[in-house]
Amino acid sequence: MGGLIKYTVMFVALVLTQVLVLNQVQVSGYINPFIYVLFILLLPVSTPGYLLLILGFLIGFAVDIFSNSLGVHAAATVLIAFIRPYVIRLISSREEDRNEYPGLRQNKFSWFLSYTSIMVFVHHFTLFYLDYFTFSHFFSTFLKVLLSSVFTIFVIVLSQFIIFRE
């Protein structure tokens, strides 16, 4: 029950931070961070696959409605929700390494960094190319993917130090 409230608050807080703060500060045309993916990153490891997918869809869909980009965020978040168990299996060397909570506090820094990097990059890659819906600006879009990913990863790691310490 406590978990339900905690994750609901996190859902709302991340969506609002995304649409009210990060979507409004347009640092430069190349940096558009999307930190709401943190919600999918921080769900407990034992979360069943279907729940992960549905929650991923919901948070993407919520951001879509706010930013008039119907389906774009939802498609990207469903994808990373789907690959999440595989990514965790891939980067955890031994079974006992795996913690129930994939946050920074419960895991090694290098583990959390590679976990975040893979997930954020896949998300941003899907998102930006779907948003442009063309490969004609391939390199400038790729630059956006890279720069925005780096920025998002930075903000997510930082937020782990500041807010989500519990």
Binding site: F57, S69, A75, H137
Partner: protein
């Protein structure tokens, strides 16, 4: 059959993943028809309210600049009015009545509560909706020039496509010789848009003013769009490639007016008749 069901249950995560992805991608591809559902865009009651509340807090930061802009526009309009014979600023009721009946345009003031410039399709949200008289396809302008067009409207909020959106183009003309073309954003620089269909024999120069043509029923004629920043003559083509520097700064635009063209339904009716005639030929 049973093995199929067993397979689906075993791989339920993958099946659900495919279903959700197909659903999301269908929305991406059929964007326009889904947007018609007014609750699925930023003009719906919940998102509108959230943006509005947020704007009412952060709106204070830019007030000095906005005040200066409004004062400048007031001064400009006042000088226009005072120099017009027959119209006095402090006119009697009769004159006001006459103006109200004869006017072709009505301007509804609104505020932008959400806006973006860095996506290929940029949208804005306005704090006025159908109960203030806003309808889809009305033009949005600011003191500095055109801003966009209204897309979807809910009761109290409206979603608009800004000029920085590749899903539409604007009928624009050169102010000095009235040659017209269409203005479309290329998705890169938020200060520049491309003007096409201006034939090579037309005399143009850097700095020429571009205004709306008035040929569509969205904007009145002569609203500022921008100035020519640079132009080139592409090999083997009959038209210039013109870069127009937009007069509106889309990063700071805040107070706008929505234009209602009162004869619009008549114009659209005529347009429909003409198009049907064309098809009959």
């Amino acid at each position: 059959m049973r093995s199929l069901i067993r397979y689906l249950i075993k791989n339920h995560a993958f099946v659900l993943f495919l279903l959700l992805e197909i659903f999301a991608l269908t929305m991406v591809v059929n964007f326009n028809s889904f947007q018609k559902a007014t609750y699925l865009n930023s003009a719906n009651r919940v998102t509108g309210k959230i943006y509005d509340t947020y704007q009412s807090v952060t709106g204070y930061f830019g007030l000095t600049k906005i005040n200066a802009e409004l004062a400048a526009e007031n001064a400009r309009l006042r000088s226009l009015l005072e120099n017009r014979p027959g119209v006095s600023l402090f006119s009697d009721s009769l004159a006001v009545d006459q103006m109200r009946n004869d006017s072709v345009y009505r301007f509804i003031p609104a505020q932008i509560i959400n806006n973006s410039v860095n996506r290929p399709f940029n949208y804005l949200t306005l704090n006025k909706g159908s109960r203030h008289g806003i309808k889809p396809d009305m033009g949005i302008i600011s003191a500095k020039g055109i801003v966009g067009v209204v897309g979807q409207v809910s009761e109290s909020y409206a979603m608009g496509l800004s000029v920085l959106n590749q899903r539409w183009s604007i009928s624009a003309k050169l102010k000095k010789n009235a040659y017209y073309g269409s203005l479309i954003w290329d998705g890169t620089d938020y200060q520049m848009a491309g003007l096409t269909e201006i034939p090579l024999h037309v005399d143009i120069a850097v700095g020429d003013t571009v205004v709306t043509s008035g040929y569509s029923s969205i904007f009145p004629e002569g609203i500022l769009v921008g100035t020519i920043n640079s132009f080139s003559k592409p090999e083997g083509e009959n038209y210039y490639r013109i870069d127009v520097k937009l007069s509106v700064d889309f990063k700071s635009v805040s107070y706008v007016e929505v234009v209602e063209i009162k004869s619009r339904s008549e114009l659209d009716e005529l347009d429909k008749i003409l198009r049907n005639d064309g098809r009959a030929d």
